[in-house]
Amino acid sequence: MKKIFALALVAVLACIAMVALVGCQKTEVESVTIYAPDGAPSLAIAKIVSDGKIGDTTATTVITTGEDVVAKAMSKQADIAVLPTNAAAKVYNVTGGEYLMFSVNVFGVLYVVGTEQLTDIAQLNGKTIQSIGLGNTPEYVFKRVLSHKGITVGQDGVDIVYQTDATAIIPQFLAGKANFAVLGEPAVTNLIQKASTKGITVHNLFDLQQLWSEAIGTDTVGYPQACIIVKKDLLADKPFVSALDKALSANSTFLTENASTLTALMTEHGSTLTVNYTADLLARCNVNYIRANTLKQDIETYLKEFGFVENSSKPANNLPDGAFYFE
């Protein structure tokens, strides 16, 4: 009897010791700096921004321009960066694999808007459309969609006039000089609201995410527009990875529950956007969290539109290998 009691006590103590040990496994990462571009991509880390922490790790977030985020990643100053996926691939190639893609977080924010009600994108034929993103996602996505519909680009088809950003397009609408545009959220909502104060009705005509999925024949709605990359060294720390995964998983709920305070939160960390986030707008921003290694096929299809190929003559344009996607 005494022996059985002794054995049971040892077993219980062993269990407690094991639980204590596991519970005491702490991250060795004390602090990280995160860079994110203003707009929808920074919403992908809103919970982290709000908490100022990833588990036990202090997280300092800087919301800045897209170019600055890329520069910080290229110079290895960022520990974590939220980037356009094509930029993330270049960072991986240029830094020799210093960063790995952790997750895809924004699945497209582009919409075609117009002052005329159209029911089919083919009706844009013969019209002039303003667009952001020359040389970047908007150009490639829109052209792919048009190509799929057999619509040519140019004076014989759709005449695309590029502007540097939405702030150059919105005044064109307000001045009555533009009728159609490819814009991203939240600029779309901004335009519709501003136009209505001038008595101009602007309609959100086509969802380019949906049309892209039809064009490339995939079930996933949208394209992997923005992602999170993390320094390889940090990803070796399992407790940190676990905490990051947990924080990002809780982000969607955080966005929904704190929509009204998001603008103030982001402004504190460098955002210059004045947007009134609603559930509707957040849904159109297509912010999500899917681990990158589960989306390799979609990511590669997307990157190929940007000219990424295997064994490119320009090393920066190499299609990243499997090691790019953190497992």
Partner: protein, 253 residues
């Protein structure tokens, strides 16, 4: 003179080679092709550009805009400088010119974006920047010849004769000097305007595309193209000045 030209050429080549070597060393030290692409990467991009037809149409478009902007500034500055000295209306014109000189270029571009077509914005902006510079030089030159002007008043010399025999000779040197200095300035402003207005073709538009594609080597390549164009323009004006000087049999400028 031939020896001087050869010496100048050797000096320029030596400077270019030195800069190339410094750049190469710096790029190896930085060891980050995004922050500082190597000279070989940039030269490779340059080679690619030179093989494309679109390169030449972009260069021509920018050159055309810069030359048109310069021509507009030159003509308006000339006319204004002559008018204010003929009719003594310096003060109100000076106020306007001072305002134009002080206005930030970027705000001119932003204001023009809404009103004008993207193909003409660079011309307008470059003209507005170049005009005050040229005008001040012309006004100063005519002002320095005030005694001649007063002499014309005394002898009741007609306005057309005054323009032809007094103002034009006074302005010949500033026209040459301003052409050398302001034409390259017009190229720089035109490129900046194109990067913001995104016309159908232009060096600025191509730079914007390179920036958006995070292609720093291509951006460097286009920057070299713009530098070479500025240098060639300045050298062309110098060469034309030399020829005119020889033909006139006058002093070297």
């Amino acid at each position: 003179m031939k020896k001087s030209l050869t010496q100048n050429l050797i000096f320029v080549v030596a400077m270019v080679v030195s800069l190339f070597v410094i750049w190469l060393i710096a790029s190896l030290l930085v060891n980050n092709t995004f922050l500082l692409p190597t000279p070989t990467m940039v030269l490779a991009e340059l080679g690619t550009l030179l093989g494309k037809g679109s390169f030449y149409s972009s260069v021509f478009a920018t050159l055309w805009r810069a030359v048109v902007a310069f021509a507009i500034s030159l003509v308006v500055a000339f006319v204004l400088a002559v008018v204010i000295n003929l009719f003594n209306v310096r003060k109100p014109v000076s106020v306007v010119v001072t305002l134009m000189r002080a206005m930030p270029t970027i705000s001119i571009i932003f204001l023009c974006l809404v009103v004008f077509h993207s193909n003409t914005i660079s011309i307008i902006v470059a003209s507005l920047v170049a005009f005050p510079v040229i005008y001040e030089a012309f006004d100063s030159a005519i002002n320095n010849g005030q005694q001649l002007n007063q002499m014309c008043d005394v002898f009741e010399v007609g306005k057309m004769a005054r323009i032809r025999y007094v103002f034009l000779p006074l302005l010949s040197k500033p026209i040459y000097q301003q052409s050398r200095a302001t034409l390259p300035l017009c190229i720089k402003i035109a490129v900046a305007g194109e990067a913001l207005a995104l016309p159908m073709e232009g060096i600025g538009r191509d730079m914007f595309i390179a920036k958006n594609a995070y292609d720093m080597a291509m951006l460097f390549a286009w920057t070299i193209v713009a530098l070479v164009i500025c240098y060639l323009l300045e050298a062309s004006v110098w060469g034309i000045g030399k020829i005119i000087s020889k033909v006139k049999g006058g002093n070297e400028q």
